[in-house]
Amino acid sequence: MLKNPKEGAAGLFFAAVGLLYGLMAWSSLDIGTALNMGPGYFPIVLSAIIFVFGAMMMGRSLVTPGETPIGKVPWRPLLLIMGAPVVFATVAEEIGMFPAVFVTTAVAAFAYPGATVPRILAISFGLSVFCTLVFAYAGRVPIPVIGPAFGEW
């Protein structure tokens, strides 16, 4: 039975990545020869090594007991913190720097346990002003302050 879940999960991940990349390289790239390596040669070698390492980890996880359990995944902070850049990337060009920073920081701030809505809104507003001044006016980042989604100003 599985004695080391951490090692087992890592092994599964590496084996899967090795297999996926190996198959992609095999099916779409020219391998070539050791003398004249094609674009697929080095990737195939690496994928094979990764797969073997992954398989070794999976094997080991059945035998050697693990140090620590994986622990709980903090879904709320993980999703909100990683979601914030997604929000920014989706809307920044359309709605502009000021509103985009406002929305992005608000989404992120909800990851904080016990943060109240008024505080989050106040912080987001302050950061939007700060980022607009620093990056849009002083740093000349190529994002409009207020984007085309709000019409001509």
Binding site: A10, N36, L46, L78, F88, T104, A111, V141
Partner: protein, 501 residues
Amino acid sequence: MQFLDNLALGFSVAFHPVSLLYCFFGALLGTVVGVLPGIGPLAATAMLLPLTFGLDPVHSLIMLAGIYYGSQYGGSTTAILVNLPGESSSAVTTIDGYEMAKKGRAGPALAAAAIGSFFAGTVATVLVAMVAKPLTSIAMSFGSAEYFSLMLVGLISSIALASGSILRAMAMICLGLLLGLTGTDVYTGAPRFTYGFIEMYDGIDFVAIAVGVYGLGEIVRNLEVGESSRRAIAAAKNLWPSREDLRRMIGPAVRGTAIGSLLGVLPGGGALLSSFVAYNIEKKSSPNSAEFGHGAIEGVTAPEAANNAGAQTSFIPMLVLGLPSNATMALMIGAMIMQGLQPGPSVITSNPDIFWGLIASMWIGNAMLVFLNLPLIGLWVSLLRVPYLVLFPAIIAFSCIGVYSVSNSAFSVYLVAVAGGIGYMLMKLDCEPAPFILGFILGPMLEEHLRRAMLISNGDLSVFVTRPISAVLLAIAVVTLIIVGRPTIARRRKEVFVEEE
């Protein structure tokens, strides 16, 4: 004494008022960002990179060097005052630095870090100036086989940086190498692993990965642990160390400098390694070894000196070979290329003003930090008092804007989220990102040199052992692998990393 002439040229560039100004701003901004918990030199440099785009090559590199040192220094400040290493290379500083701060000796601890670093920086600058020229002539004789073997040494030594098992570290290296190959193949033009995204034809944006894994991943980890881990900030009064303190600092500073200078040259995060090694040597050899772990000033001076010397000498492989010795150096190389400079042995002859100016501004950056960090302690402490609820949304906003402006596309900002998510999960499984990052940087170069070496040797693998320099490098790689694989060392690595937590 030709190197003195060269240094004079360098200082004439670096002491130009405009250069001094950029160096100052770089160091200041770097420290401000570096002081923020969870942001190391890599994330700080990535975030501040856009600010240098408008400058000419000399000034942008000088400013970047300032940012690099500033953020490294900022990390030490947080390590001492709040027991939070901003980056892994100041992790050992927390052990004795925070203990000193708890006893009300935060001032002397910060001064010890600053003075130790400054001493190390001075020595290492002279060293870099002395060896750079002779080393470039050696570098000229480097063929593809030598480059390949040297990179192998770097990759293998990066295993020592990871706390998990060697198997996992090696898997992470290979994963980094593999993902580093993403994009158009230089020989045939075939797109590789792009999943059909045109944005990935030039490879995966390194800045996005660095920001995602080190910036955002760290935030999730901090939120997971909760506010309680951000302990009270020790007050820093009475800045100056006593005469007794100074006397105890001399030996560790000298030994730390020597260790740092040697290990820094190694491609593969020499600075981090050197601070661990320096700390352990002091702990063993010091007459005050009982005090270690309870606020020994030697335990602050030695790793900080080693760390800074290593940061300095890690410029050698970059300037001489065009090989990044760590992730931050990779960013610097990226910045050089954006400025139209091809890093490598030719820079020293084609752009001597840039080469020596950069070396001189390393020293000036160091000096500035002593005058910046110590008097402005009050400012750093107030920065540390900013509530995390304000801090982490700010870091996310800066990261998004920074990544967007480096690549000028929203695609890289999506990548930040993907890299951050995967990076976080892997860290949860005890797979450390440092070996991955190094593999990712070296991947394309490693492949190119392997392919070229095989072409030149007619597909004969023995070329790696018949060429003497390459054979020596491979032998070093094998010995390193055996050393990091020995159970006693493995156990010790674990201890060192457990201590930091």
